[in-house]
Amino acid sequence: MISFSSVFKAYPKGNGGLRDVSFRVRKGEFVFLTGHSGAGKSTMLKLMYAEQRPTNGTVEVAGFDIGQIGATDIPRLRRKLGCVFQDFLLLEERTAQENVAFALEVTGAHRETIPGKVMRVLTQVGLAAKAGAYPRELSGGEQQRVAIARALVNDPPILLADEPTGNLDERATRGVFQLLRDINAGGTCVVMATHDLDLVKSANYRSVELRGGEVVFDSAEGHEAQR
């Protein structure tokens, strides 16, 4: 599904880049990316959804080579991915329902099929009753659920989540995390960047730790990476 081989990413300012990262995510897997801020978690995710390109090495996601991907292929890649962020990135002037429908509309989905799909995912995330609410009328946890619904509505095989619980209280965090687990249980590959170690420990999923742009631990290999 996702593969990094000897990936280097350098930023002009020098922070948050990656150094010789090789790692692979299999279909249906749930992977935590952990590490302090600036360790390179967000960079890895940005490479996955082609917001950035690797300076060196190869990144492959859902069959696309991110280093070589053309401008017209980026939308095609992103339709195979769902992305969830710490600050939700919802459109404030649109209701929950419209925010989710938006992701279908931009991909040119048939108008008649949109309402049904939207209600299905809103039900899945437990927000069917608040479909007509605007983001400002929803709690942080509810807004993140709308964002997850939007990420899921195209049935992507991969869900990328960058600190999805970073702005949420403990209760909302548990709720959102449970939702991501359910989604993974349904067969969707989930890559979640977080610095919440309690959350990581609470579930028996693979965790990959980054430090200074390098992978220093991968639970799949069961030991500290040798450097």
């Binding site: 017209t72 992103r78 459109l91």
Partner: protein
Amino acid sequence: MNLTLREALLSFRRTPLLSALSVTTIAFSLFVVGLFGLVAVNLKHALSTVEERVEIVAYTLRGTPTETIAQASSDIAAFPEVSTVNYVSEDEALKRARTELVEFRDAYRDLSTNPLPASLEIRLKPGSRDAESVATVAERLKGFPFIDDVRYGRDWIAKLDHLRNLLGLVGLMVGAAFAVVAVVIIGTTIRMAVLQRAREISIMRLVGATDWFVRGPFLLEGAVKGLLGGLLAITMCAGTFSLVTSSSGLLAGLVFFEPIHLIAGVCFGVAMGLGASMVSVGRHLRDV
């Protein structure tokens, strides 16, 4: 397309102030260009009425048979530059002189013989009224053996030419300058709209919208703003025109744009709006 239209309309509704600002900016830029255009159109109109009076008079030698003159008249009328040839006989010249030159009426009445020569009055077609064509035709007329003298306002025709060229050049330059200013201003207002919606654009791209999909609403918005701006500019021009012509009797003879000019103006507005949003959105999409 349906969605594009909806998004463009939404943008007008969400940011009425910014949209109104863009439309008035376009309108005022086009209004200035339009005012200058009106001045140019009227100068051209005034010049063409002056030009209509461009005339060559060829005086014939005394005693030339009328048949010769009639034959020559039809030859001259066949010149490509010539529109009409009018024969003025000696008697008619005298009659005209008596009515037109009242001061000399007595002098003309007491004449025993008519001192005035017969002549051919030649008017030229539009487009052949410049100094060069006039001189060419005059030169050709001198080739007829029975033509005694050829007269035309050589100096003032040359001056008219010069004035017309100068006006055309100044008009073109000022018009182009205002058009450039207008495009820059429109580009800036659309850029503001793009920046204001930068978040929305990034979200659209994140969920897999193509660049053309992102551009669509902005292009439509720019075109609509250009259209509205163009229509507003025409209204302002028409208002100013009727105000000026009604307030002063001196300017009552002014002419307004022809429909084709108005259509061209609106098309220009649309093109400006479209071009400016194309550049603004394109730059934004490249930057992020």
